[in-house]
């Protein structure tokens, strides 16, 4: 269906090609997953398929790509609209109209289909993607998962043979991601559609893939093959594969189901270890936070640390927005020095609102927010940053200078600290960053660390992060985990609002689950995440009912036993 013949893409002004020597074929009816570190050329790869690269973006493309026999060198993206459907990273950016039904029809109107055909296809697509109840809804009023499905539907109505998606589930909560992936697998199986998608969250998608394309970046050759073949060599792998590698299972498991069938002996082995653990920790002196916590690697002490003095609290916090949506209803939360708290819950459950109340960006309707003895809403920003710092969902919002060095200087001046403070912090977080780089040219992970360094410049004891792993690959995520642990050891209290169950399992000691503006569950992370399948990390699902949450924990336990 799609043939790449020795394809190399070099953007104007770039010293290295963004994509080099791709030579492969994607057959019809496959779900092809594209993986790679940030900046390895995933988006470029996807955009070559419908000719957006180079027709739209500029740059030089050598080699040849044919889609269903059409050469992208001679066909513009619009001439391929009936063959390839492309869904971008943020669906809202790609919407042209404002109502679901019109959006589905837009592509067909451009192609010039007869009204009767359009009518039929819109109805079919509404049914296929379960959007029937939303047909008259304004696009902006939909949830993230619904928007993503409308975006998929809007390109499906043109009856393309290939569907290309760039990170379709990164911004979604686990349930919404399930919705979207279920729709995609259904399209592959029912319609024989060829789907090419890029995704960082391998734990969500690798089990559905027929083929994985690994772009290692740095001019290394592209690896393509079945998921099992690629996972064996790839530096990026979901926890379930890591667990399989650790336990030496062959073939490697791709899904929780695969792993669970292999995991019997491992569970037995761990059960004997776990019984010992539990006896020790359930003695009267054990703190509740450590009661169910199994063995840890020596450096993994954050979860066991007993929390220090109370740093910040919200009491009976109520926040109401115009129209009464996305509010908080009587939320209680206390954060202590030295602990890492995970804040989970579906899209619109109030996670961001709660974080924003702690930095005074949201006016409480009633209730009290207290950060280190001050009320955030009534405190001057220049004083507040010494008490609390928030890394927002889009870290780039905080950046506007032309270079990293300039950003650091501004941060020093804003925080009124000696020049060089921010730069030293940044050097500690990511050594060897080029200080002349423009923030826009950095990878998501680098931008996140830069913003974190800027926030930390004022030395706030409380650090809040809103959805920090969006767009981060596993390497960047591992680095973030290390940084967060170091900060907690320094006595910072950290609150993470995230959909990423693996991150929560790895770093947090306590988890708070919000639902519709209320605290639904709160307690030690192992207790909370084990109680609900939606929030359980993969390792917990494989080893349930044993309370191990991450691969390093299992590795440490096995090591301690041997």
């Amino acid at each position: 269906m799609i043939e790449f013949e020795d394809v190399t893409v070099t953007y104007a002004g770039a010293s290295r090609p963004a994509l080099a020597g791709v030579d492969m074929t994607i057959p019809e009816g496959e779900l092809c997953l594209v993986i790679g570190h940030t900046g390895s050329g995933k988006s470029t790869f996807l955009r070559t398929i419908n000719g957006l690269v180079p027709h739209f973006t500029g740059g030089r493309l050598s080699g040849r790509i044919t889609v269903n026999g059409r050469d992208t060198r001679t066909h513009h993206p619009r001439d391929l609209a009936d063959v390839v459907g492309v869904v971008g990273q943020d669906p809202l950016d790609g919407f042209v109209t404002d109502v679901v039904e019109d959006e589905l029809a837009y592509g067909m109107e451009s192609i010039g289909l007869a009204p009767a055909t359009m009518r039929k296809r819109v109805e079919e697509t509404l049914d296929l993607l379960g959007l029937g109840a939303l047909r008259n809804r304004a696009l902006t009023s939909l949830s993230g998962g619904q928007q993503q499905r409308v975006a998929i539907g809007s390109v499906l109505t043109a009856h393309p043979m290939v569907l290309v998606l760039d990170e379709p589930t990164s911004a979604l909560d686990p349930q919404a991601a399930e919705e979207v992936l279920a729709s995609l697998t259904r399209l592959v199986h029912d319609l024989g559609l060829t789907v090419v998608l890029a995704e960082h969250r391998l734990e969500r998608v690798v089990q559905y893939a027929d083929r994985v394309v690994y772009l290692p970046g740095d001019g290394l050759p592209v690896v393509a093959g079945t998921p099992i073949e690629v996972m064996e060599v790839s530096a990026l792998a979901p926890p379930v594969v890591e667990l399989g590698k650790l336990a030496g299972w062959s073939p490697l498991p791709m899904s929780v189901r695969d792993a669970r069938r292999e995991a019997g002996p491992l569970r037995e082995q761990l059960r004997s270890l776990g019984a010992l653990r539990r006896e020790v920790s359930s003695s009267p002196g054990g703190s509740s936070g450590a009661a169910l916590t199994p063995g840890h690697a020596p450096d993994d002490t954050s979860r066991l640390r007993s929390a220090g003095h109370e740093l910040a609290s919200a009491r009976d916090l109520v926040v109401t927005y115009a129209g009464g949506i996305h509010g908080l209803r009587g939320v209680e939360l206390t954060v202590r020095a030295g602990e890492i708290v995970g804040l989970m819950g579906g899209n619109g459950a109030g996670k961001s609102t709660l974080l924003r109340s702690f930095v005074g960006l949201v006016e409480p309707a009633s209730g009290v927010v207290d950060v280190d003895g001050v009320v955030p809403r009534d405190t001057k920003p220049s004083r507040l940053i010494r008490r609390v710092g928030l890394v927002p969902q889009e870290p780039a919002d905080l950046l506007y200078a032309g270079s990293v060095a300039r950003e650091c200087e501004l941060a020093d001046r804003d925080a009124r600290v000696p020049p060089g403070t921010c730069r030293a912090l940044l050097e500690r977080l990511t050594p060897g960053l080029d200080h002349d780089t423009h923030p826009r040219d950095m990878s998501e992970g680098q931008r996140l660390t830069l913003v974190l360094a800027i926030i930390l410049t004022a030395r706030p004891p409380l650090v809040l992060l809103d959805e920090p792993t969006r767009g981060l690959d596993y390497g960047a995520k591992r680095r973030l985990v290390e940084i967060l642990r170091e900060l907690a050891l320094d006595g910072h209290a950290i609150v993470l609002a995230t959909h990423d169950v693996e991150l929560v399992a790895e770093v947090t000691g306590r988890t708070v689950v919000l639902g519709d503006g209320e605290v639904v569950a709160e307690g030690p992370t192992p207790d909370v995440v084990m109680a609900s399948p939606a929030f359980a990390p993969q390792v917990a699902k494989v080893l349930a009912p044993l309370p191990w949450l991450t691969v390093p924990e299992v590795a440490a336990a096995l090591e301690a036993a041997s």
Partner: protein, 389 residues
């Protein structure tokens, strides 16, 4: 009779009908400063919006326009009180401290005595402008400008898309600006006003630019522009004809709404403009092969709604010809009289609250049925059945 002809058949009314109705009411309001009539017009717009608006986000436009209208009235009244002079009336309400001005500003007075006549006159004039604003707000709430653009003819399609994109970005810019301002707070900047504005502009524009590029990529990949293949000459003629036509329409509208302009400026240039742009649209329409999904029908309710708006305007123009004194108070303190023809016309314009079909309801209830979930639920139900059996 087709179902679309029945007012009881629930559907979205053609946006053009609502705009014609609103223009009719606005034209009526533009001809009078009689507060009684203006208040009735205001009430009519509010009534119809309350009865026939949908639950889409833009349906809240009326409230925004109403607030703007109140601000307009307040500004007029406050300015008039400050600049009031004795020449406007004798009925002194209260006296403000007078601020002495240099000789260069002779004839202008700041503060001093405020007369009831001056304040009332300002109030009535503000009320007229506010009423016209509310008519526009009603049209926006009942049929968003974007839905109106969906009905533009094929020749104006590109123009329509450009406008839609612009309309999308205006609210987005506001959101972006709020986000960037929040970011300033997070970085610990206290400054407000111009300095912070200057710092906000760059990131906001950058974000808007990124999004436009993303939107353009999306439109390109979805086949935008592949059906228009026109020669330069045809493109130029279409452009000139439609542009000239639209200019004529604008001038004509201005002439009609502004009572003091010469009669030649009104209806004749409006008609000429409509004719010109029709030609342009006909010429341009031939070159596009774009099709349209479910165009809004123009049926009996559309005729009735636009007719009601026309009736209000006609009644007002008739009163202006027969009894012009009734439309403007002899003095601000006079008790307003109620000219029955004009009021009757305006009341006819309230009929769409019943005559227009109600918009499809239930579009806001949050029924989320994903294939995954529904099949899961189905299997659950099957399990339960098995258990009970």
């Amino acid at each position: 009779m087709r179902p679309v002809d029945l007012p009881s058949y629930s559907r979205n009314l053609h946006p053009g009908a609502w705009w014609l109705w609103a223009i009719g009411l606005a034209a009526a309001a533009s001809r009078t400063t009689n507060p009684a009539i203006l208040l009735i017009i205001l009430g009519v717009t509010g009534l119809v919006v309350a009865a026939r608006r949908s639950d889409a986000p833009w349906a809240n436009a009326y409230a925004a326009f109403l607030k703007l209208a109140l601000v307009v009235i307040a500004i007029r009244v406050v300015l008039q009180s400050l600049l009031s002079s004795q020449s406007q009336g004798v009925e002194v309400l209260f006296t403000l401290p007078e601020i002495p001005l240099p000789d260069a500003a002779a004839g202008i007075k700041l503060g001093g005595m405020v007369t009831a006549e001056a304040v009332l006159r300002a109030f009535y004039e503000g009320l007229q402008l506010a009423t016209i604003l509310c008519c526009v707000g009603a049209a926006n709430a009942l049929a968003s400008a974007r839905r109106l653009l969906r009905s533009v003819p094929g020749a104006l399609y590109e123009l329509g898309v450009a406008t839609v994109v612009a309309l999308t970005f205006a609210p987005q810019l506001v959101t972006d600006a709020a986000r960037v301002r929040a970011a300033h707070r997070l970085r610990g900047r206290d400054d407000r006003g111009l300095r912070s504005l200057a710092r906000t502009v760059m990131p906001v524009l950058e974000g808007a630019l990124d999004r436009s590029v993303e939107l353009a990529a999306s439109m390109d990949s979805r086949g935008y522009g592949r059906t228009t293949d026109a020669g330069r000459v045809s493109r130029l003629t279409t452009g000139l004809l439609t542009f000239g036509g639209l200019f004529g329409v604008c001038v004509g509208m201005f002439g009609l709404l502004d009572g003091s302009s010469p009669p030649m400026l009104g209806l004749p240039s409006l008609l000429a403009g409509v004719a010109l742009s029709s030609c342009g649209i006909a010429v341009g329409g031939r070159r596009t092969r774009r099709t349209r999904y479910r165009p809004d029908p123009w049926a009996l309710p559309e005729w009735m709604v636009s007719g009601c708006g026309f009736a209000a305007a006609a009644a007002m123009f008739a009163t202006a010809a027969v009894d012009p004194a009734a439309l403007h108070l002899p003095g601000p303190l006079a008790v307003p009289e109620v000219p029955w023809i004009a009021v009757g016309g305006v009341l006819i314009a309230a009929l769409p609250a019943r005559l227009a079909p109600s918009p499809p309801s239930g579009s806001l209830h949050r029924a989320v049925s994903s294939p995954a979930r529904s099949s899961f639920e189905a299997s659950l139900a099957a399990d339960q059945r098995r258990e009970t059996a």
